[in-house]
């Protein structure tokens, strides 16, 4: 990789990687589990898209359909005491850790039973018991937080790692660069995961950066890095295993650049061909064909480890889960008015002095 031009090469080519994945020696059972999780993410987001379209969701939803393999490949190596941070597009990060769809849906609906007790909606998710420390929508805002949580893990000698998920746009925020340097100097066990979907809202990366590969910053900061096809869960998990292991062993931070693409527009349910810059229908179609789920399913089928029937059954099961979770979330209560002031400070008494 050089620092200039289209450094990602074929990885950024929409026509690349349409065939089935090469599964290598990844245990099929694990892959089936990952397929299931990816499906669960995809279907949950599709459900959110429809509900948002139909006006049943009041706040914005940033959907990551097409990017599921990244969080699923990374989360393979995470445990409940790890510390994961996300951003505005974090449904997949949460669900990949096993997050509850009911908790997510209730949150998106602003219900007291939501993961953030109805205080955050889609852009502010929290599930610390599963290791999801939180996601918030200021671009790059959580990246230094993840460094700090990793530093804490090092000080606490827990062997835990932190993960910061962020995008190719977030890389342009100075605080990300500061965070890379700080993590490196503190040997913080943090994995920086760039989901490079080539866009920051309407702006293609070529309009924002001189190279489409963000991994060059890991190199500049002397951080161990890997660059993978983010729509290939086998590739993602292979790289993530090495980098999470590196961090867990106390060898310092890691940086994973996963090249991927979002199918929907920047926010909500439409694809943004009409409003984006540099995004063509042909590109979108090609990227849809590079579907991380379809490619894994095809490969598993070819290996005799998956079938249309099993796919159908998994889909039905998830469909049932989604319907039930949604209905429950819709029926759940909103936060009481006191929540507005009670949750500002740790103690109620303190909020109204």
């Amino acid at each position: 990789m050089t620092a200039s031009g289209a450094a990602l090469g074929p990885l950024a080519d929409p026509a690349y990687g349409h065939g089935p994945l090469s599964l290598g020696d990844t245990p099929p059972e694990r892959l089936r589990g990952q397929l299931h999780t990816m499906l669960r993410i995809r279907m949950a987001e599709q459900h959110l898209a429809l509900m948002r379209r139909d006006g049943l969701i009041g706040g914005p939803v940033h959907l990551g359909a097409g990017q599921e393999a990244v969080a699923v490949g990374v989360s393979q190596w995470l445990r409940g005491t790890d510390r994961v941070f996300g951003g505005h597009r974090s449904h997949s990060h949460l669900i990949a850790l096993g997050g509850s769809l009911h908790g997510l849906f209730a949150e998106v609906l602003g219900k007291d039973t939501g993961l953030s007790r109805g205080m955050g909606g889609s852009m502010h998710l929290w599930d610390q018991p599963r290791g999801f420390y939180g996601s918030v929508p200021i671009v790059a805002g959580t990246v230094p937080l993840a460094v700090g949580a990793a530093l804490a893990a090092r000080m606490q000698s827990t062997g835990d790692v932190a993960v910061a998920y962020f995008g190719d746009g977030a890389v342009e925020e100075g605080v990300v660069q500061e965070s890379l340097n700080l993590a490196r100097m503190l040997k913080a066990p943090v994995l920086f995961v760039v989901e490079n979907n080539l866009f920051s809202s309407h702006m293609h990366i070529s309009l924002r950066q001189p190279s489409n590969a963000t991994v060059r910053f890991a190199q500049a900061h002397d951080i161990r890095a890997e660059l993978v096809d983010g729509n290939d869960v086998v590739a993602v998990q292979g790289a993530a295993e090495r980098l999470v292991g590196h961090a867990r062993r106390g060898e310092g931070p890691g940086f994973l650049e996963a090249v991927t693409y979002r199918w929907y527009g920047h926010v909500d349910w439409r694809d943004d061909v009409d409003v984006g810059v540099n995004r063509s229908i042909a590109d979108l179609e090609n990227w849809r064909a590079r579907d991380p789920i379809g490619r894994l399913a095809a490969a598993l089928k070819a290996a005799g480890e998956w079938s249309d029937g099993r796919h159908e059954a998994a889909t039905m099961e998830i469909r049932g889960e989604i319907d039930q979770a949604w209905q429950q979330a819709v029926a759940d209560p909103y936060p009481a008015p006191e929540a507005l002031l009670d949750r500002v400070y740790a103690a109620r008494r303190a909020a109204r002095p």
Partner: protein, 329 residues
């Protein structure tokens, strides 16, 4: 008159941009979302196509550098407008605004002035939550060296943007998405000197004074209408310019009404409404008050998302009316 044009608040801003870009080659615009039709409502539509992407510069996600670059370009004789689609994002750019722009003239002995305009948009509601809902005008009002403009009317949206950009000083121009639908017929543009712009009485009355800026002035006006139905005559003073702050018009008004309700969509402590109360309290004698002054602001909490909490979070007309009634009772 036949020369009046119908605008809404958003297209009034657009008209200001078109006027400035068409007439002043040293004006350019830099910020996020400028090549997108949906970032800033209808307030910048097609500027990139009309004036070219060299003058309407969409940027990387780098608020600090973009704002700093505008400061530098201003020092070099340009009149940049930096657009922050949400004021919340500007927290990354505080050094450029507060340590650099606000202080540069003073630091170099008044020999250079970074005449940039920072357009910071208040964009809230819609369950967007704590990091996408702030109204930080009081912060900028606190900092000497900045001029801070907060237009409430369609006319001011247009004319104060022009005055801001033509001002030789750094200006923070704060518009509010909740105002974009207001409409008005406006006469042709006249260039105002921002240093001359003062608060304005938008509605006369002698029972009490409502003072506010930006969207809160809409609340005040609507509250005044409702109060009139109850025979309470409220005077509404729109502050318009928060820094440097000159409240003579408000003080004058309270001298007559003896009652003051300051309405503000920002937080209370060290906020705009408190400043209004403080200045009036300093300026008039205790015996001139017919009741102790009051304010209506946000509660002491970040913005929630859930619609039920949003509906009680933002100050509205009913609360303003209720407090006003307490004041006159």
């Amino acid at each position: 008159m036949s020369s009046a044009t119908n605008y809404n608040y958003g297209t009034a801003i657009l008209a200001a941009f078109e006027y400035l870009l068409g007439r002043y080659p040293e004006v350019f615009v830099i910020g996020q979302g400028l090549w997108s039709p949906w970032y800033v409502g209808n307030s910048m539509t097609a500027l990139d196509r009309k004036f070219g992407v060299e003058r309407i510069i969409d940027t990387p996600v780098s608020e600090a550098a973009c704002t700093g670059a505008a400061v530098g370009a201003a020092l070099a004789g340009m009149r940049p407008i930096v657009v922050h689609p949400r004021i919340d994002f500007m927290l990354y750019a505080m050094d450029a605004v507060v340590n650099q722009a606000a202080k540069w003239s003073h630091m170099v002995g008044g020999q250079a002035h970074p005449g940039l305009t920072v357009r910071a948009i208040i964009n809230r509601g819609g369950e967007q939550g704590a990091q996408h809902s702030q109204a930080l005008h009081a912060w900028f009002a606190h900092v000497p060296g900045l001029r801070v403009v907060m237009p409430a009317t369609v006319a001011d949206a247009r004319d104060l943007l022009i005055a801001s950009v033509l001002s030789p000083d750094p200006v923070v121009y704060i518009d509010d998405r909740w105002l974009y639908d207001q409409t008005d017929d406006l006469p042709p543009i006249v260039e105002l000197d921002l240093a001359d712009v003062r608060p304005k009485v938008l509605r006369e009355g002698d029972d009490l004074t409502l003072a506010s800026a930006g969207h809160s002035t809409r609340i005040a006006l609507d509250a005044a209408i409702r109060l009139a139905e109850q025979d309470v005559r409220a005077e509404v003073v729109d502050l318009r310019v928060l820094n440097p702050m000159n409240l003579d018009v408000v003080i004058e008004s309270v001298r007559r009404t003896g009652r003051l309700l300051a309405v503000d969509g920002g937080w209370r402590t060290c906020g705009l409404a408190g400043e209004v109360i403080a200045r009036v309290s300093e300026a008039i004698a205790p015996r001139e008050w017919r009741a102790a002054p009051k304010r209506l602001t946000l509660p002491d909490a970040p913005a929630p998302t859930s619609r039920v909490l949003e509906s009680i979070y933002y100050p509205g007309v009913p609360q303003a009316v209720a407090i006003a009634c307490e004041l006159v009772s």
